[in-house]
Amino acid sequence: MLRVIHSIRLATKTRCLDFRWRFGLIQLTFGVLALTVCIVAPLVGPVPISFNAVFNSSLPFSDNVDAQIFFIARLPRVLAGALVGGALAAAGVVLQALLRNPLATPFTLGVSAGASLGAMLVLILGLPVPIIGIAAVPVASFVGSLGAVSIVYALARFRYQGLSTNVLLLAGVTLNSIFSAIILFVQYLADYTQSFQAIRWLMGNLDVSSYTPILYALPLLTIAFIAFASLPRSLNLLTLGPKSAAARGVNVLQTQRLAFFSASLATGAAVSLGGPIGFIGIIIPHVVRLLVGADHRIVLPAATLLGAAFLVACDVVARTFMSPMELPVGIITAMLGGPFFLWLLTRTR
């Protein structure tokens, strides 16, 4: 297996030196993977359905049980998984580049703590009424994530002219600690039902009941990804250090700000959609870099695609592992986290 990875890596890095060919080949491979997973995933589940039956146009929709299961029960979940997985993986890549640390995750800078607190407050203080037609929990969690991001940014800029990555990291850790404490406290105040709901939300779950939450998350994610598209070259240069990057023409402060806010936006939207699903944002960037090298222009799109495929696949496992019970996908990703870090440990010299 390692030899396969090694030979893929050699082929993509050295022999096909032309960037456009490498880019096209890699994105095509990951794209086909993601597409296949997303098409096969809704077909898997406790009730077997077949592809032909789903797309049998001779049957009207209201009579086609297979199609109903596919489009109403399963496809939203798969789409949510693809969006959340892609967003978290991409945010992971960007934040690791920003903090110049391959161990950074989308949750390092406090976004998920803010989102969790927002969701907790709604679940436990009991305001599950829809606000302007959107369910309260996702809205509150997104607002919470915005709050956290603003606080972290303010803290990081408090004493320094630029955006020092060390200060940013410390501010994120500070926020995570403070918000975790508040979350603990709020959970203590809850009764059994609320507590149950809260804990379940914190596990990270893709059980979206309709396309609505997806449609609301989509514009946010689109904005984040448009920002992501402009970053890769600057992120490459930023790896050399802020001085070296500036000497090569990068507007370091602007790049850092754009990276910070777009990654936080993507993470906030992803967490409000699926809860704080962990480890995608650190496993996928690592694996992609191992396969295709460190050039962010290739890594960023590839990680997005692989993240989407990976999370949807994990969700399939979550749904079928203890069928007919549907486990929260966060449990599956968490179970993969430990072995991943162990493997990383064994690789480090």
Partner: protein, 269 residues
């Protein structure tokens, strides 16, 4: 091409006025904390002076856009720690980014130039090696190659040459052993001679400065102590004033450069 500046960054540098001659190797010498790095950063446009100006080609640095400046000047930091695993060629190619449009990819010319830069610094055969696996001297030479790639332009169809380029190096040999110090010095000398690169080196290594630079700027606590040709500026008195050290400064016929041998601390330090 001429760089001149006069500025007043009150905390570190005080109202310095110097000129860097075109086509030469200038050394910025001084003890730790004298402001060498600040001076270099100001020269490279990485810092803005709190008062005064920094001019390149008689135009203030702030009038140049970032990418234009990056094509005229390249900066080599003392050490480079990479968070991710890039190959040597990728790092050399990063020097070409200022030459690319917003979403443009490096073309065959850029790859040729990057390879040429690697060849000039003697690192061409390390092309596909991951940067982290290189020795200290190799790493520094690759970084110099990357800086060089910023400056190289096609002058004729088959040859690459710098028509005007300024290379700034901040203590390039501080973390390197003797052999690599010699390698880097030789690389810089050949760059200056063959590619007509103007070089400014900040260093506290007196012998390196003596062997490499033809002009020196001596800094002490944010002021210019002396400025001028190496043979005139570097003497036992200036070493004493700068470092509070008694030293023997003499011309060595073997190497053809000044040799500075520290003897003892100055009595009234």
């Amino acid at each position: 091409m001429n760089v001149s500046f006069s500025y007043n960054t009150t905390q570190v540098l005080n109202n310095i006025s110097i000129a860097v001659p075109h086509g030469g190797i200038t050394g910025v010498l001084g003890p730790n904390g004298s402001g060498k790095t600040t001076l270099l950063n100001l020269l490279g446009g990485l810092l803005k002076p709190t008062a005064g100006y920094v001019r390149l080609d008689k135009k203030d640095l702030s009038t140049f856009s970032r990418s234009v400046l990056a094509k005229k000047m390249a900066f080599v930091t003392q050490e480079t720690h990479l968070a991710f695993d890039y190959s040597v060629l990728e790092i050399a190619l990063m020097g070409r980014y200022p030459h690319l449009g917003p979403f443009q990819i490096e073309g065959p010319t850029d790859i040729k130039i990057a390879r040429e830069a690697l060849k000039i610094t003697g690192t061409r055969d390390l092309e596909n090696r991951p940067f982290a696996s290189l020795s200290g001297g190799e790493k520094q030479r690759v970084i110099i190659a990357s800086a060089l790639a910023q400056l190289l332009q096609t002058s004729t169809k088959y040859e690459f040459g710098i028509t005007e380029g300024l290379l700034l190096l901040d203590e390039p040999t501080a973390a390197l052993d003797l052999r690599y110090q010699l390698e880097i010095a030789a690389t810089l000398r050949s760059l200056n001679k063959n590619q007509n690169t103007t070089i400014v080196v900040a260093t506290h290594d007196l012998n390196l400065a003596a062997s490499l630079c033809d002009q020196l700027i001596l800094l002490r606590s944010g002021h210019v102590l002396k400025e001028g040709p190496t043979l005139k500026v570097l003497s036992a008195e200036t070493v004493r004033t700068l470092y509070n050290v008694e030293a023997d400064v003499r011309f060595d016929e073997n190497s053809g450069y000044l040799n500075i041998t520290p003897i003892s601390k100055s009595p009234n330090a």
